[in-house]
């Protein structure tokens, strides 16, 4: 697969191009066409408005600031967590990923419940942080949300590109631990760090829920919140065109950032390493240092994950907002509201949809990972990253305008939307794992008489399994949580779980939404743990199973 036969590669490329055209290019072109035909006259005055300039400035500055903070945190996590002698390492490896499991709207809310006026710390200690509802709060919660993503991408990079001997060579050449980190480890992880930075930047450009929940009280508007406002109060065509124009503007900003980064990074990302390469550190550290690291990690996770999420779980079982979360006020009513016969029906539909979407996405992600190894395929990776920044509502509108004539209200259209939106999520981890697959193993398989796909199935699948599984899980989870696009695209008989639940109580009622998050998280966590155990058993070297698995299973993007 890394180097397909001369005939296979063009065919795969053609397949990817076809999917790209259907999922990304056509809908985007339709949107551009709509703006061009109907809104040419409005663009110039719109671009000149102060509000838009402020929003664009906020968006870009926020994305840059989040990237600047999330990258060091994520890199630190990756460096600390690759230490096999870290006390309680398997636990931490899972714990740092928890923010990924929770929809960000709920995460934003949980922070206010923990730290704002009348929140946890205010009630217990009289400590509160007014800035949580404002640019600083938006920034902080986004950083906490993005750090696990950086951790995942960088950890993969560390595992793929830093052989322990390279660090040992530095140490034995006279470099201390810090110098080795700077001159060797981080230098080698640089492509991964850069890739993570690009991903975080693009995701932050397109993020909506947290700026909306935490930024509004301070009058902090971003491009995405303006898009939301335009659509909300825009029965008139002008605001609709403005919303699409803003979304396309985001795409252009993202393209300007992603395309050069991908062009620069892609060739460097492809390194060939031995099959037994492990991302373990070269040297044991001092126990005291490890303990201090574990302590620091515990403190960070307590403040950023445990406290807010405890607030979340408590509000899922507390009768009403503003009541103390004591047993007297506990109730399962929110869970009963979420779990009605109607929602179970929709849940079945959602599960099916999510399974199909995740499976197709893993195939598509793998396809792009394969073809981008050739020069001709590199643009594909950049293109699919762009849909990541497109707000769900705009992407859905684009798909609806392009295919609504035939597919309006069908599950197929919802599936297309999921595929377009999540393709990059499936692609990035698989591409990372493919890096680690030595081509000789594939060559040996082909030389032993296996056809291209047989070779993939028999030889490549096993080492790639954790990454594929991780990508599958992330796509499955995101599809299950997805509400913006589905609530715009569904029709009679195709309501998804999240649509039914949110329709029954509008966004904003926290108790049921918290209950929904808890249910969905359990729904995902239980199979994830089972799969993790299963994969653990599949590992060829049973003597060291906890080395990398947790990280790879849950890898995001």
């Amino acid at each position: 697969m890394p180097r397909g036969t001369p005939r296979l590669l063009p065919r795969l490329t053609a397949l990817v191009v076809a999917f790209l055209a259907v999922l990304v290019v056509l809908p985007l072109c339709r949107l551009v066409l709509v703006v061009w035909q109907e809104g040419r006259a409005d663009i110039a005055p719109m671009a000149g408005s102060d509000g838009l300039r402020t929003a664009v400035w906020h968006t870009v500055a926020l994305a840059a600031a989040v990237t600047l903070a999330a990258v060091p945190i994520g890199v630190t996590m990756a460096l600390v967590l690759r230490r096999s002698d870290l006390p309680g390492r398997p636990f931490w490896q899972v714990a740092v990923l928890v923010p990924v499991l929770v929809p960000d709207f709920v995460l934003g809310y949980s922070w206010t419940q923990a730290y704002a006026r009348a929140g946890f710390t205010d009630t217990l200690l009289g400590l509160r942080w007014a800035g949580i509802q404002g640019p600083l709060g938006v920034w902080l919660v986004l950083v906490v949300n993005a750090a696990p993503l950086v951790y995942l991408v960088v950890a993969v990079g560390l595992a793929a590109r830093t052989e322990p001997d390279l660090e040992r060579a530095a140490r034995v050449s006279g470099a201390g631990p810090a110098t080795t980190l700077l001159t060797v480890t981080l230098r080698l992880a640089l492509p991964g760090v850069a890739a993570a930075a690009v991903l975080v930047f693009v995701l932050t450009l397109g993020t909506f829920a947290i700026p909306q929940v935490l930024g509004a009280p301070a009058g902090f508007s971003t491009v995405t919140t303006r898009i939301y406002a335009n659509l909300s109060l825009g029965g008139d065509p002008t605001s609709f065109i403005e919303a699409i124009t803003l979304a396309l503007l985001l795409v252009i900003v993202a393209a300007v950032c992603v395309a050069p980064a991908d062009a620069l990074l892609a060739p460097r990302l492809r390194a060939v390493r031995g099959a037994d390469t492990q991302g373990i550190p070269a040297l044991p550290g001092r126990r005291a240092v490890r303990r201090a690291e574990a302590f620091g990690l515990a403190g960070y996770l307590f403040l950023t994950v445990a406290l807010p999420l405890t607030a979340l779980v408590l509000s899922s079982v507390t009768r009403a907002l503003g009541l103390p979360p004591t047993p007297g006020n506990w109730t399962l009513a929110h869970f009963r509201e979420v779990l009605t016969p109607r929602t179970f029906q929709a849940l079945g539909r959602s599960l099916g949809l999510a399974v199909v979407a995740a499976t197709v996405l893993v195939l598509l992600g793998a396809l792009v990972a394969v073809i981008e190894r050739a020069r001709s395929g590199r643009a594909a990776a950049t293109l699919i990253t762009l849909t990541l920044v497109l707000p769900g509502s705009t992407l859905a509108v684009g798909l609806l305008i392009t295919y609504g004539r035939w597919l309006s209200g069908t599950l197929t259209l919802i599936l297309l939307a999921y595929l377009a939106k999540l393709w990059a999520f499936a692609h990035r981890p698989i591409a990372g794992a493919l890096d680690r697959l030595p081509p000789d193993e594939m060559h040996a398989s082909r030389a032993s008489g296996a056809r291209a796909l047989t070779a993939v199935r028999t030889v490549a699948l096993r080492p790639l399994a954790p990454a594929l599984l991780g990508a599958w899980l992330v796509c499955f989870l995101s599809a299950l949580h997805e509400v913006t696009m589905s609530s715009l695209l569904y029709g009679p008989g195709t309501e998804t779980f999240a649509v039914v639940v949110l329709n029954s109580q509008e966004l904003g009622r926290i108790g049921p939404t918290a209950a929904l998050s808890v249910v969905l998280s359990l729904l995902v966590t239980v199979p994830a743990v089972l799969l993790f155990l299963a994969v653990g058993r599949l590992r060829p070297r049973p003597s060291r199973p906890p080395e990398h698995l947790p990280l790879e299973v849950a890898r995001v993007g």
Partner: protein, 322 residues
């Protein structure tokens, strides 16, 4: 020569997740001497080198470098503060640095300015006759060239002890000999000691002053190459240190004798049948089977007999195995 050995390892124990990788290993290397660590893969050679370099912390025992305890007595000294350099089996060249910057790296770490470190590095590259490669990165170098850069980096450190971890394992045969000669010559020039890990008996015997045989984390035998070759401690040590045949002792006491290929000659009173013949260029090897067992006999020149021929042979010397 100073009284303190360059390296002294005493009762060293290393264990990973409950399994013992090194079990009470004791050895020492004097200044200017080369110790070959000879053992099959998995015998603990790399583990021993890693413990000496400071890449892992031994469970028990001490490591002393030039009389200073670096492990086993209080906090272990980190690798960068141990007076040694290492050449790795996989070269361990940093993919982002050119050959020149790689070789300049140790000098930079000991505080030299960039320009000075580079000048020094270039001198070393010149000495190894690879100055032309200075601007290249590892991906643009052949295996032999990469390992030369690896050697240059170790030389740049100017240590009192070199650790060579199977440095020729990945090199082509023809490059190997040249590289080995270069390595030994350079190391001898500096007057420093060296530990050379290998699984190749010929290599070990040829370059070492002392050979230590390792098996499953234990030291089987230490001695000069000749001692190890002529008087191996047991059958395993005998097989490890070169081609070996074992036959029943002719003087009917039932003991077993080690016979090296050169220790017997064709022609003589003892009878046997020729089972196989290998032409090796300068000499030929004959596998002879007889009542005492099978043994390998080495004679100069091309093969003289056909397979299946009845031949006579005589035993020149032997070593009784315990």
């Amino acid at each position: 020569m100073s009284a303190e050995p360059a390296l002294e390892v005493t009762d060293l124990v290393v264990s990973y997740d409950g399994t013992t990788a090194l079990d009470r290993v004791t050895l020492s290397v004097r200044r200017g001497q080369v110790l070959a660590l000879l053992g099959p893969s998995g015998s603990g050679k790399s583990t021993l080198l890693h413990a000496v370099a400071g890449f892992l912390v031994p469970a028990a025992g001490t490591v002393r470098l030039g009389g200073t305890t670096v492990a086993g007595d209080g906090r272990p000294v980190p690798p960068e503060r141990r007076d040694l350099a290492m050449v790795f089996q996989n070269y361990a060249l940093w993919p982002h640095l050119t050959a020149l910057d790689t070789v300049a790296y140790p000098a930079r770490r000991s505080g030299a300015g960039r320009a000075h470190a580079r000048t020094e590095a270039l001198e070393i590259l010149e000495r190894l006759r690879i100055a032309g490669l200075a601007g290249r990165k590892p991906a643009e170098l052949s295996g032999g060239e990469q390992q030369r850069v690896g050697l240059a980096r170790a030389l740049a450190r100017r240590p009192s002890l070199y650790l060579f971890d199977e440095p020729t394992a990945h090199l082509d045969t023809h490059v190997r000999g040249v590289f080995l000669a270069e390595l030994v010559a350079r190391q001898r020039d500096t007057g420093a000691a060296a530990v050379y890990a290998t699984h190749d008996a010929e290599e070990a015997l040829g370059l070492a002053d002392q050979v230590a045989l390792l098996h499953e984390g234990r030291l089987l035998q230490t001695g000069t190459p000749q001692q190890v070759y002529d008087q191996p401690a047991d059958l395993f040590a005998a097989r490890l240190s070169g081609p070996a045949s074992v036959i029943t002792a002719p003087d009917h006491d039932g003991g077993e004798l080690l016979v090296r290929p050169g220790w017997a000659r064709l022609g003589g009173p003892l009878k046997g049948e020729l089972r196989a013949v290998w032409f090796r260029g300068p000499h030929s090897d004959y596998l002879v089977a007889g009542p005492l067992g099978e043994l390998l006999i080495r004679e100069p020149g091309p093969p003289q007999h056909e397979i299946g021929a009845r031949v006579g042979w005589s035993l020149l010397r032997s070593w009784p195995l315990p």
